[in-house]
C-alpha cells in the first residue's frame, strides 16, 4: 500500500520532471537569445517573442508547402532570424561610432517597431488564424514516461543548439570576446576584442536562438502571429531568474521554470501558467535580484 503510493508519487514526479525539461529546453534556448541581447548589447528586445513566432512560421511553411521536416528547416529559420539580427545591428551599433548610451533608446524604438512589423507581416501572409501541423505525433515510452515523439523532439533540437552556443561562448576566442563585452565593452576594447564584431555576434546568436526555439514549439502547440508576447514574458522571467547576461543562467533557469511550471500546473490548474511565471519573477526580484548566475 505504502510502497505503491511511493511508487506512484515517484512516477508522477519523474513524469513531471521529464515534461518540465521538455518544455524547459525550449524556454532555455529562447531565453539564451534574450539574455545575450539584453545583457550584452543593453537592448531590451521587444521583438523577442516575434522571433519565436517567425521560427514557427518558417518551419510551418516549409513543412506544409515543401514537406521539409522541421529539423531540416533549422538553417532557414536561423537564416531569416539572422537577417533580422543584421537589421538590428545596422540600426543600432552599426550606426553609432562608439559603444554608446544612445543604444538603449535606438534599440527600444527599433525592436518595438520590429515587433509590430513582424507580427503584422506574418498575419498578412498567413492570416491571423491559429495554425497547427502534425509531425512525428507518435506515442513512445521514454524513461517510464509515455509521451509523444514530437514532444521529445523539442529537447532533441533545443539542447544541442544551446550546447553549441555555450561551447562557442566558452571555448572560442570569439565567444570569450563576447563574454568580455557583456561585462564591459570599453574594457573589452582595451584588451583587444573587436567590439563591433562581438556585438554582431551577440545580435546574430540572440536572434537565431529564439527562432529555433519557435521552430521546436511549432509542431507541438498551436500558434498564431500574435503568440509573441507570451513567449517574451516567459523569456524575461527566465533571464531574470538565470541572471542577466548569463548564458548558463538562462539554460538552467529555463529548465527550472519548465519543471516548476509543469509541476504547479499539474497540482493546481493550467490556467495559472503565466501567473506562475510572474510569481517566480517577483520572488527572484525580492530574494535574489542578480539571479542564479548573475555576478553584478
Amino acid at each position: 500500500m505504502v510502497i505503491e503510493a511511493v511508487g506512484y508519487t515517484l512516477t508522477i514526479g519523474m513524469r513531471l520532471i521529464v515534461a518540465g525539461i521538455i518544455i524547459g529546453s525550449a524556454y532555455a534556448l529562447g531565453a539564451l537569445g534574450l539574455t545575450l541581447i539584453w545583457g550584452g548589447a543593453r537592448i531590451i528586445n521587444y521583438a523577442h517573442g516575434e522571433l519565436v513566432m517567425i521560427g514557427a512560421y518558417v518551419s510551418f511553411w516549409l513543412f506544409t508547402a515543401f514537406k521539409v521536416p522541421p529539423p531540416l528547416a533549422i538553417p532557414f529559420a536561423a537564416g531569416v532570424a539572422a537577417v533580422i539580427g543584421l537589421g538590428l545591428y545596422l540600426g543600432t551599433i552599426g550606426r553609432l561610432t562608439r559603444a554608446p548610451e544612445e543604444m538603449e533608446s535606438y534599440g527600444l524604438i527599433l525592436t518595438f517597431a520590429l515587433m509590430i512589423l513582424l507580427s503584422n507581416s506574418v498575419a498578412w501572409m498567413f492570416t491571423s488564424d491559429i495554425q497547427v501541423y502534425r509531425w512525428m505525433m507518435v506515442p513512445i515510452d521514454f524513461f517510464a514516461v509515455s509521451t509523444l515523439l514530437n514532444r521529445l523532439m523539442i529537447p532533441i533540437i533545443c539542447l544541442p543548439v544551446a550546447g553549441i552556443v555555450l561551447a562557442l561562448m566558452n571555448k572560442t576566442w570569439f565567444g570569450r570576446g563576447i563574454s568580455l563585452v557583456i561585462d564591459n565593452d570599453q574594457v573589452a576594447g582595451l584588451v583587444g576584442v573587436n567590439v563591433r564584431n562581438a556585438y554582431f555576434g551577440i545580435l546574430t546568436i540572440g536572434t537565431i536562438t529564439p527562432a529555433i526555439a519557435g521552430l521546436a514549439w511549432s509542431f507541438n502547440y498551436p500558434f498564431s502571429p500574435f503568440i509573441g508576447i507570451e513567449h517574451a514574458i516567459l523569456a524575461f522571467v527566465v533571464v531574470i531568474l538565470g541572471g542577466l547576461g548569463s548564458p548558463k543562467g538562462s539554460i538552467v533557469g529555463g529548465l527550472l521554470i519548465g519543471i516548476i511550471e509543469t509541476t504547479l500546473v499539474y497540482l493546481i490548474s493550467p490556467g495559472l501558467r503565466l501567473a506562475i511565471a510572474y510569481s517566480i519573477f517577483i520572488l527572484v526580484i525580492l530574494l535574489r535580484p542578480s539571479g542564479l548566475f548573475g555576478r553584478k
Binding site: 561610432t97 576566442w173 561585462d183 570599453q186 574594457v187 583587444g192 573587436n194 567590439v195
Partner: protein, 234 residues
C-alpha cells in the same frame, strides 16, 4: 616607439587637445604631467584609439595608426591601464588576467605569462578566485597592470596609476614599473601627482590646457622653478 604629431582632439563640442606632440623613445619611461582637466586622459584615449583626433597623427612603431581601430592597436603590442583601472568587475582576478591574453600573440604564452605575473604579484595568486570588485584599491591597480602584462606587450600606458593609493603602495607600483622596463617594455605614464613619477621617469612633458608647455629630461624638470612651484609645492 611612439610619436604623437600635432594632435587635436575634441570631446563633444569641447576642444581638449590643441596640437600636442610628444615622443616616447623605445625602452624609456616617459611621463606626461599636468593638472586635472589638462587633457592627459584624452591623450591616452586617443593613442589607444578610443577618441579619434580631429587633426594630427599617431605613429606607433613607425606605422601611422591614426585611423586604426583599438583592437588592432592592441594587436600591435600596446596596452592601456585606464584611469580607475578598468577591470571586468563581474569577473574573477584570474578571469581578468586571462582576458589580458586576448591578443593573438599572447594566447599561446598565456600559461607562462600567468606564472610570471603571479610571481610578480603573489597577492593576486592568493586572490585569484575572488571577484575583481572585492579587491582593495592597490590590489586592483596591481591587477590592472598585471593584466596588461598578460598581453606580452611592448608598450604600456598608465593613466594616473597612483590615484587613490597610499604613497608606500605607489612606490611599490613604480618599482614594478621599473622592473617591467628592465624586461624591455616601453612605458608612458600620465600623472597629476608628480612627486614620485619624476624620480622614476626618464623624460617628462608638462601638459596644461591641452598644450605641451615643457619638455625635458626628468632630472632637469624636477629642478625647473615653474615645476617646483606649480607641482611640487616647493
Amino acid at each position: 616607439m611612439l610619436r604623437v604629431e600635432d594632435l587635436y582632439v575634441d570631446r563633444g563640442s569641447i576642444n581638449v587637445l590643441h596640437g600636442v606632440s610628444i615622443k616616447v623613445e623605445k625602452g624609456s619611461i616617459t611621463c606626461v604631467i599636468g593638472p586635472n582637466g589638462a587633457g592627459k586622459t584624452t591623450l591616452l584615449l586617443s593613442i589607444v584609439g578610443i577618441l579619434p583626433p580631429r587633426k594630427g597623427r599617431n605613429i606607433f612603431k613607425g606605422k601611422d595608426i591614426t585611423f586604426l581601430p583599438s583592437y588592432k592597436r592592441v594587436e600591435m603590442g600596446m596596452s592601456l591601464v585606464p584611469e580607475g583601472r578598468g577591470l571586468f568587475q563581474g569577473k574573477t582576478v584570474e578571469e581578468n588576467l586571462l582576458s589580458g591574453a586576448f591578443r593573438k600573440e599572447a594566447r599561446l604564452k598565456c600559461r607562462d605569462n600567468l606564472d610570471r605575473v603571479y610571481s610578480l604579484f603573489p597577492i593576486l595568486k592568493e586572490r585569484r578566485k575572488q571577484l575583481a570588485s572585492s579587491l582593495s584599491g592597490g590590489e586592483q591597480q596591481m591587477l590592472a597592470v598585471a593584466r596588461a602584462l598578460m598581453s606580452n606587450l611592448d608598450f604600456l600606458m598608465l593613466d594616473e596609476p597612483s590615484l587613490g593609493l597610499a604613497p608606500i603602495i605607489v612606490s611599490k607600483l613604480y618599482d614594478t614599473v621599473k622592473s617591467i622596463r628592465e624586461e624591455g617594455v616601453t612605458v608612458l605614464v600620465v600623472e597629476q601627482n608628480v612627486h614620485q613619477i619624476l624620480r622614476v621617469a626618464d623624460f617628462g612633458y608638462v601638459l596644461e590646457n591641452g598644450r605641451i608647455v615643457h619638455a625635458d629630461p626628468c632630472d632637469k624638470l624636477i629642478e625647473a622653478p615653474e615645476i617646483k612651484s606649480a607641482y611640487l609645492g616647493l
